[in-house]
């Protein structure tokens, strides 16, 4: 099977810091690919390079076999790649519903919508509320609350709900459960499975090993700016994975770079 999304030799430098160091990457159709690694290993930079949020200095990215070169996240979104960034990317002063539909607002039916381009607020609010309920975010008391007034976890929930609702080709989640409670995390994992069952592959960055081993089909282990190896959760224990990503052990057939 051909990878749906493929990165080769990606390099990204920030001044003195090399965040991606000739990194490779593959995502196959319909799979959940987890990406794990130390803090600062370059995971977020990797997915930013894929989603158009940063432009890699070197290397090539292919989507469905065709080389792509996104220069903005909007292009990636248009190509069906939906991302939850670690920084969440929300407009603090706008409401939850506004944020969820940012860039793909619904217009009112009839003349008001087509000529006067009026937003369909009630429909957007209803949809937003439904998606949040699916995630179990019951403590959100007011769907018109500004996002800046939400708790850390509530914000995370809104971002995840947005990506899951709109992703059509790839959904990328950068630590989606980091700020979430037990109940809400569980819902996100269910949601991830749900998205996969719609045939959409998912890239999941997480530091939560139990979660990773529970849902991932393959695990991409990132170390010092590059892919160290890819493992299947069935073949290795969590302990092995942790050992690989922290440099305590080396997987077979891989040599630590000098």
């Amino acid at each position: 099977m051909e990878p749906l999304l493929k990165g080769t030799n990606l390099v990204k430098r920030y001044g003195k810091v090399t965040a991606l160091d000739h990194c490779d990457f593959d995502l196959y159709p319909g799979e959940i690919l987890a990406v794990i690694g130390d803090n600062g290993a370059g995971k977020s930079t990797l997915i930013k390079a894929i989603s158009g949020a940063v432009i890699p200095d070197e290397g090539e990215i292919m989507l469905e076999g065709k080389p792509i070169r996104f220069s903005t996240p909007i292009e990636a979104r248009a190509a069906g790649i939906e991302t939850v960034y670690q920084t969440l990317a929300m407009s603090p002063a706008l409401s939850i519903a506004d944020n969820m539909f940012m860039g793909r607002e619904l217009r009112a039916p009839g003349l008001m919508g087509s000529v006067f381009r009026k937003l369909d607020r009630p429909r957007m609010e209803k949809f937003a509320r439904e998606k949040l309920n699916e995630l179990g975010l019951m403590t959100i008391q007011n769907i018109n609350q500004a996002v800046e007034t939400l708790s850390g976890g509530q914000r995370q929930g809104v971002a995840v709900a947005r990506a899951a609702a709109f992703g059509s080709k790839v959904v990328i989640l950068d630590e989606p459960t980091a700020a979430l409670g037990v109940k809400e995390s569980r819902r996100v994992l269910e949601l991830i499975r749900d998205v996969r069952s719609r045939g959409i592959p998912i890239i999941l960055i997480s530091h939560n090993m139990p979660h990773v081993f529970e849902v991932a089909d393959r695990i991409h282990i990132h170390r010092l700016g590059k892919r160290l190896c890819v493992i299947k959760p069935g073949d290795y224990s969590m302990s092995d994975a942790v050992a690989f990503m922290t440099g305590a052990k080396l997987p077979e057939g891989v040599a630590e770079p000098a």
């Binding site: 949020a53 903005t72 996240p73 909007i74 979104r77 991302t83 960034y85 920084t87 969440l88 990317a89 929300m90 407009s91 603090p92 002063a93 706008l94 506004d98 944020n99 940012m102 860039g103 793909r104 607002e105 217009r107 006067f116 381009r117 009026k118 937003l119 607020r121 179990g136 019951m138 403590t139 959100i140 008391q141 037990v182 109940k183 569980r186 090993m209 139990p210 081993f213 529970e214 959760p233 069935g234 224990s237 969590m238």
Partner: protein, 356 residues
Amino acid sequence: MTDAKTASSFEEGLKGASEKVAEFHEEKSQLKRLQHWLHQTPSAVPMIVLMVALLVFGVLAENFFKAGTLSVILQQIAIVGILGCAQTIVILTAGIDLSVGAIAVFSSVLMGQATFRYGVPAEIAIVIGLILGTAMGAVNGLLIAKMKLPPFIATLGTWQILLAANFIFSANETIRSSDIAATAPALQFWGGSIQPGGIKILYAVFLMIALVAIMSYVLRSTAWGRHVYATGDDPQAAELAGVPTGKVLIQVYALAGFFCAVAGWVMIGRFGSVSPTASTGQLGNIQSITAVVIGGISLFGGRGSIVGMFFGALIVGVFEMGLRLVGTDPQWTFFLIGVLIIFAVAVDQWIRKVAS
């Protein structure tokens, strides 16, 4: 694989978790409601300040509460109000446009000279002026969105450039009102008026109110309006969330340029003549920014409503007229307007604090 199960074993506790949406009892006292309303309605505070100002001057100056005086106030703020529409959308994107006044004056000169120097029919001259004004705004937008110049510096530059170009192009020549009335009355269109019961209300006033109403709708109820807010709120986040911030910025500045050109056309109607030395070129930016800020719109972008700007412009207009009627000396007028700017915004901040 085994420890995955175990690790999540404590999640069994989730079974039967409450699905209740959190709800707390709310105090429904009148005061609380008022506070909530003040908090939710960004234009409420300037409106209250305006009311108070009207009352105070109504008492202090005998000629103040005449329909004639009030209609004069409206016509005096028409131009600042239209420039304020331009300034509002720009400031909502966390920008600032120092060139608004210069674009307005230059556009009016372009309309006038196109007619009188080059003999273009007035209607076409107006269209040319509007297009060129929009283009000047678009240049601001390009500098800011594409070349990433800070809006303050980009528009500071274009302000100087346009003002100088305006003087050079016009050769400092004022076109007289009587000539315009004779040859190109379309230029003076907005100076026309209706006179219900003898009180003169300029078309320009209706235009300003219409523009505020339209922009209020656009900003609140269309996707584009939301994008403007998002761009000003946190441009990086907006970009990541799928707002084409660059495009939005260019559109915003171009639209602002268009409004300025409209203001330029209105200036011809209001003053009768076309004068390159109109002080709007120098002061239009500060005046419009003052209206915007008194109207409760944040200079850091993303917060506030255009209706607030309208009240802001009115507050300044009422103060100026009121002080004139009371007979204050010009320097004292400037002094008091300074005091009142600070006072108006301080009251605004105070009410917000109390209400929050």
